[in-house]
Amino acid sequence: MENLEENLKAQIIEQLNLEELDLEDFGNDTPLFGDDGIGLDSIDALELIVLMEKDYDLKIANPEDGSKIFRTVNTMAEFIRTNK
């Protein structure tokens, strides 16, 4: 899982159709939601739950947990490493 963070970034761009965003446009610590980040919305949050389930076999039962897990690419990677 060395390139986990980079993979996640690519998957986020792909899964959420963020066509105008390149890998260099956001860092592992950039907030994914909100105006000072890349500005994902509530539907994106739900899509990230689907991504975690499909690609990492990790179920998130309560969507409210998503707000912590999906804060940044780093927090997502940490969640995957802890739960895999």
Binding site: N17, L18, E19, E20, I43, E47, V50, E53
Partner: protein
């Protein structure tokens, strides 16, 4: 009932985009629809990244409405004075089929499911142009200019509506078509059923 004027119209088909009979953008016939729509987005300087999250029906709706809702038009009216009446025959069939495929495979995607209602196009256009007025989506067997004109006149007579975008948009399989008409009270070009039908049927 009030007589309305057709002040502008726009069209998106498999071959390109037009406004008032003038070509705005030609699609490359060697490219697929999806990449042509992306090219059109770039060419029209939309800088609206949400576009890429939309389904095909909303994408052509956004492109067609972009040409009609110029700053000059939007400045003329309050945010609840422009109504949207859209129609088609196949509803959101492309997204419906995509959603069926996904839940059949085990996981429904919220980003697909949300587009399985035809009036999401109205929501997307309303968000893009900050329109909070009256709206409705109708399903017709085929294009019904008389019904669209009747509904627009009805809104003008019974609500704060002062201008109305009426349109037809279909996106499924090989069908890609949006024909939007801007109807206003002032103007010198009476909006008749024959005129709307002619614009829809003419291949530009």
């Amino acid at each position: 009932m009030r007589n309305l004027n057709l002040t502008s119209w726009s069209k998106v088909t498999t071959t390109g985009i037009w406004k008032d009979a003038k070509s705005v953008f030609h699609f490359n016939e060697n490219e697929n629809t999806s990449s042509n729509l992306k090219q059109a987005y770039t060419n029209l300087n939309l800088s609206y990244p949400k576009f890429f999250k939309m389904d095909g029906l909303c994408k052509i709706g956004i492109l067609a409405s972009e040409l009609l809702f110029t700053d000059a038009v939007k400045e003329k009216y309050g945010d609840d004075e422009i109504a949207l009446i859209l129609s088609n025959s196949q509803s959101s069939l492309q997204s419906d089929a995509d959603h069926v495929k996904q839940y059949a495979e085990g996981t429904a995607s919220p980003a697909v499911f949300v587009y399985t209602l035809p009036n999401i196009t109205i929501g997307e256009i309303s968000i893009r142009h900050k329109l909070l007025g009256e709206s409705n989506f109708y399903i017709f067997e085929s294009f019904r200019s008389n019904q669209l004109l009747e509904q627009a006149a009805l809104l003008m007579s019974t609500t704060p509506t002062k201008a109305c975008l009426v349109g037809w948009l279909e996106y499924f399989g090989n069908t890609v078509e949006a024909v939007f008409f801007l109807l206003e009270k002032e103007g010198t070009n009476p909006a008749t059923s024959q005129l709307l039908d002619k614009i829809k049927d003419t291949i530009y």
